[in-house]
Symmetry: C2
Subunit: 344 residues, 2 copies
DNA sequence: GCGTATAATGTAAGCGCTTTCAGAAAACGT
DNA sequence: ACGTTTTCTGAAAGCGCTTACATTATACGC
């Protein structure tokens, strides 16, 4: 293995002399930045075709001071959430003609410690999509002050920074699913399994839960609030713990599908049937939801769309156009079986 | 929103004059490409620090003719498989000091149709990791002939191209899990739910299944071979169909976890218990496996590691070092409940 | 037709780095 | 001491493009 002839790619000069024009003209037909005679365009295009020429990105970047690439900053998450998001971002980026450079906070030495002069930032990209909590506030500020176009996904900007932010209608979705539990099934002892404390999506989902309770005259029982971390294991433990206390319970609203799955495991281990003994519902409608037994009733979050919207906001920012300071994507109730409904 | 002061970043010249040296020296301390007096190094480093200087990638690329980025080509897959793979690739790339540019075949106009002068290829990257079937053979050949370092993930190279290839010990893993079914549980009517026809991993898993059958004197019954597509829906339909025929059946070996999930659904819908009536096992051990009910016995495939190894092979190739022509990563049996074992 | 506005092309100056090449400084040998 | 290596440093030439700016061909007006 190994040992292969290197090769040298044609440059714009080759194309120019092949077509019998100057490199400026070649550049113009490539970028369509100035009128060129139809005949010339044809000649140049033929030359490009024949030589199999493709402009070299680095040179264009250097000369044109735009990288045509967008950076994506991810925290060290795993999970079901991630994939559709990436898909949305990737496809959005390509539609707009941008390349996608990915950087996970994982690979960075000291995510929190402050300093992480991320190689991505102001150097290789025209703008950055920053997923919740993958950047310290300090670093975010620095990039912002620097003037780098930024869009936040599932996180609102720190005080004073006008960074567009895209996320879901979390409160609304949560309220609706909890109301479903109350109105359709008549549950009254509904536990909530939250996400991590600092996570905004989780916060608003909790608010939605509270709102639904209030709207139906139910009082919030703090014993029914379990802190999860978007992790099935933690959820399972938390629910097992709750079950141990003997607090009455007829449903669990998990702030994410993975926690819902963990809750189901705990319930099952305790010999409880779902949904007959305790109903379980989730949030996100990730791939996982339909695979669970019973299939999970949840709130569909347009994850992929969020990625796409984030890109389009970023592109507007890059182009100096106006952007929405916050975009809330609508969610939708997905009824399956785990809430007690029998459909499908 | 919008309207922010742009800003101009310091260049190597700024650093040079700040430190009172020439840009050549600055370059040398940055790249450690030639000896520099300790005192000078310190001065330069202080300058870099103070000015918050970071070299501009495009300029380095242009001057140094290396991009320091690796491209990843993905097909339009969804799925559980994807995430750990990306994680492995991403972290591997960063460990080796490379950026990661992602490109999904999805975004390409005509993936199969041949022509797709992918912007990634020879222009913005030092090398490419190509996931199975994200590139036509023709395109692959072109890039190879061009001399671009290439590594294939889960696909062997076309005739005559010496491209390193990393994948799992599929046959071995499949054989072992099927033998588990036969030896430990005594099943004899074991159906197989394959992946898509052209997929090599799937092919070898099927071979492993056959091998296990043969080794135990069982004859292969073609009625028990169901063609899946790594998709739960298709698997579900296929299994439902099989059940309809009344062919005796005591276990199903699915070539991937998602199909296993689909199989489980079909079984459940037919009123069959898992594993009492029919056992189900999978392959891959994706996140999904442990969430299923009952938890899925499967073969753990080191997906993340595969990504990491692919990167390291690619980096060797880039550096002109020798590489393995094929890397088979060992798999491991993961016993849960769906096979009939009771552990955990 | 002639002057002038307009379209089409070419010339050349960088973009911010890396890297020869050569010169200056320091270290060595005897 | 003096020549000779060995270190260290700087000047300058690109890398392959984009983009003013200048120039030339073509169109228009009357």
């Amino acid at each position: 293995m190994s040992e292969r002839k290197p090769s040298t790619r044609p440059t714009i000069d080759d194309v120019a002399s092949y077509a019998g024009v100057s490199i400026a003209t070649v550049s113009r037909v490539i970028n369509q930045t100035a009128p060129v005679a139809t005949k010339t365009v044809e000649r140049v295009q033929a030359a490009i075709e024949n030589l199999n020429y493709q402009p070299q990105a680095a040179a264009r970047t250097l000369a044109g001071r735009k990288t045509r690439t967008i950076g994506l900053l991810l925290p060290q998450i795993g999970g079901y959430f991630f994939f559709p998001m990436l898909q949305g971002i990737e496809s959005g980026a390509h539609v707009d003609g941008y390349n996608l450079l990915i950087h996970s906070a994982l690979s960075n030495p000291d995510p929190d410690q402050g300093e992480m002069p991320l190689a991505l930032g102001e150097h290789n990209t025209d703008g950055l999509i920053v997923f919740a909590h993958s950047l310290s506030e300090k670093e975010l500020r620095r990039l912002y002050d620097f003037g780098l176009p930024l869009v936040l996904l599932h996180q609102s900007p720190p005080e004073g920074l006008a960074i567009p932010n895209v996320t879901f209608e979390n409160k609304d979705g949560a309220r609706r699913i909890v109301e479903h539990l109350i109105e359709v099934h008549g549950y009254r002892e509904i536990a909530i399994l939250t996400g991590p404390e600092e996570h905004e999506d989780s916060y608003w989902r909790e608010m939605g839960y509270l709102e639904a309770l209030n709207a139906h005259g139910l009082v919030f029982n703090s014993a029914l609030k379990l802190r999860g971390k978007f992790s099935p294991e933690i959820a399972r433990l938390a629910v097992a713990g709750l079950l141990g206390t003997g607090v009455p319970l007829d449903a669990i609203f998990a702030a994410d599908d993975e926690s819902a799955s963990g809750a189901m495991m705990a319930l099952r281990e305790a010999g409880l049937r779902i949904p007959e003994d305790v109903a379980v519902v989730g949030f996100d409608d990730t791939l996982l939801a339909s695979h669970l037994t019973p299939p999970l009733t949840t709130v569909h979050a347009p994850i992929e769309q969020a990625g796409r919207v984030a890109i389009s906001q970023l592109v507007r920012l890059i182009n100096g156009e106006k952007t929405e300071s916050v975009t809330l994507l609508p969610t939708e109730l997905v009824i399956r079986k785990s809430c007690g409904c029998c459909s499908k």
